[in-house]
Amino acid sequence: MNAIRHPTLSRHDLEAILDVTKALAAPFDLTTMLGEVVAAAKQVLRAERGSVWLYDEPNGELVLEVATGIDPVRVPWQSGLVGACASTRGIINVPDCYADPRFDSRVDKASGYRTRCMLTLPLVDHKEVLVGVMQVLNKRDGVFDADDEALATALAAQCAVALSRVRMTSALIEGEKMRQALEMAREVQMSTLPAAMPSVPGYEVCATFRPADLTGGDTFDAALLEQGLLVVLGDATGHGIAPALSVTQMQAMLRMAFRLGADLETAFMQVNNRLADTLAEDRFITAFIGLLDPATHTLRFHSGGQGPILRYLACARTFDRYKPTSFPLGAMHLSSLRPAITVDMQPGDILLLVTDGFYEQENGRGEQFGEARVMAIVEAHADQPVGALLALLVDAVKAFAEGTPQADDMTAVLLKRDLDLRAERAFERRIDAIPALVEFTAGAFAHLGLDPQLLPRVDLAVEELFTNMVKYGRGSDAAVKVRLQAVEGGVDLTLIDRDVEPFDITRAPEVDVRAPIEAREPGGLGLHLIRRMADRVEYEYTAPTRQSRITVRFTSAARWGPPARTRGGNAVD
């Protein structure tokens, strides 16, 4: 059994140790704490100098902070006297340093100081974690003895705990600084997003930016410029401050280029090349950059790696899917560009620009939301205002996630051309015009986005009314105007006939559909059928122009049923 030697602590020593404990409780920063530890060691052990090597566990090194502004000295954690101390976690007392092969004299050579004797102590905190190594040099009156070793061990334990506390505190502070820096980057990113959507005649524009907890690198833009409506959606690689700032930079460059009058190709290439110069080697930005001419409804765009780009085609209730025209912006220099993609926006069409945050949102089972779900929602709610549609899309993604956190920024821009509400054409007063009439009706249904289930009934009504006008308005040369107007849940069909005698179809006699065949005649059947198919039939005669106007309403709710409500027309001035 080893005898334990208690050091003979003088009252002076004890006071010094207690002072040290008090001093070590105060500092919160590492530099001050290291100074306190060294000062305490020098005082308690009556040494000329002292130093503390901190253990950098991730790098497997011991690090000595020499002075502010000078790179610290780093040694592998198993090399030299400090290394031996760290790896064995035992105290090493060297009375004559230059006689010990483990002693590294380089520090002496650099400083001009001569180390005679040295105590090297492991700093192990209360959780048995190695914090570092303390060295105390040159005892003022001789060499370090066993009492000094014991005293130093007691001091080292105090120092280790204090250092450990400071390191943890500074890790927390660093985390907080990082969080604040991220928040600032996020603020910069958000501040460049348009505050309001531009007002574009004949179009609805709507966007959303839903940041993830960690900064993603999404951005969008929508602005009415001289070149047309600029629409941008961008997503920079990675998370953190850099992508947030690089998309902000791209967005600013694009705005600048377009404001200076650049066309789509020039802006795309110039911004790409500037980004290639400034972005880090492994960074790039996928981006859609498009210009819409609201007068001609032509959208031209380039996409640097941003996809899928979807266009909902209202008349066919299908989607067009476009591929990128180039690699992501900033990936490398561009000297030429493929032609831009041109999209002719038809009434009711929706351009869907949506970032990965939507498509790649996962649920608890690791499934992704995916394109198919996005398309299904858009198709089902294409008649809604785009703002409502986008809200539905966001809600659907949230519901799908089942609480799985949002991993990436969710950003979307939706651009919808207003659905035309009315189609009108004049037809020659001839039975031969019927094929053209049929074609017009079918075309108008597609154009106005009307419920195709209504088409057979409207088709029938158009022909019956038109045929009547041809038959009974032989005195007129005027063309017959046929108009289809979209209304809530259906369509109004209007036929306008000029230079004719009044014939109020709402007062036409009922057909007895139960009469025996001998008594049946074809006449009046058309009007009878219209009354059974329609929700409402209105007739109006304007005497000064001798104009008959018949309006028939069809809605999806009503199918064949009891006769429609009718409103006969009195002469209107």
């Binding site: 039975i431 031969d432 019927i434 094929p435 049929v438 057979p456 088709d459 029938l460 022909e463 019956e464 045929t467 041809v470 057909v511 007895d512 559909v513 139960r514 009469a515 065949i517 001998e518 049946r520 005649e521 074809p522 059947l525 058309g526 009878h528 059928l529 059974r532 198919m533 199918r559 064949w560």
Partner: protein, 97 residues
């Protein structure tokens, strides 16, 4: 457009749109038929009152000579037209799909 022609088993096959613009040609074709005539309507997409008039006139003529006009393969949306005009009571109708 409308097509009307002789099919197999003495049937008459009618397809397309039987509207006011096509009524006259359908009428002249059916005026040449006699006896029990089955009109295969499985290709018929549309019929208006003008078309119903053609069928009514033909039915009256055939019935007077102990013949008749039967309608086969009528599409559901056309069955509605026959029902609401009471024409389902004037013809033997075999609906299609």
């Amino acid at each position: 457009m409308l097509s009307i022609e002789h099919g197999q088993d003495g049937n008459v096959v009618i397809a397309g749109r039987l509207d006011a613009a096509e009524a006259a040609s359908a009428q002249s074709f059916l005026d040449n038929m006699a006896g029990v005539v089955t009109l295969d309507c499985s290709g018929l997409d549309y019929i208006s009152s003008a078309g119903l008039g053609v069928l009514l006139k033909t039915q009256k003529r055939l019935l007077a000579a102990n013949g008749k006009l039967r309608l086969a393969g009528l599409k559901p949306h056309l069955v509605d037209v026959f029902t609401y005009s009471g024409f389902d009571q004037l013809f033997e109708i075999e609906p299609g799909r």
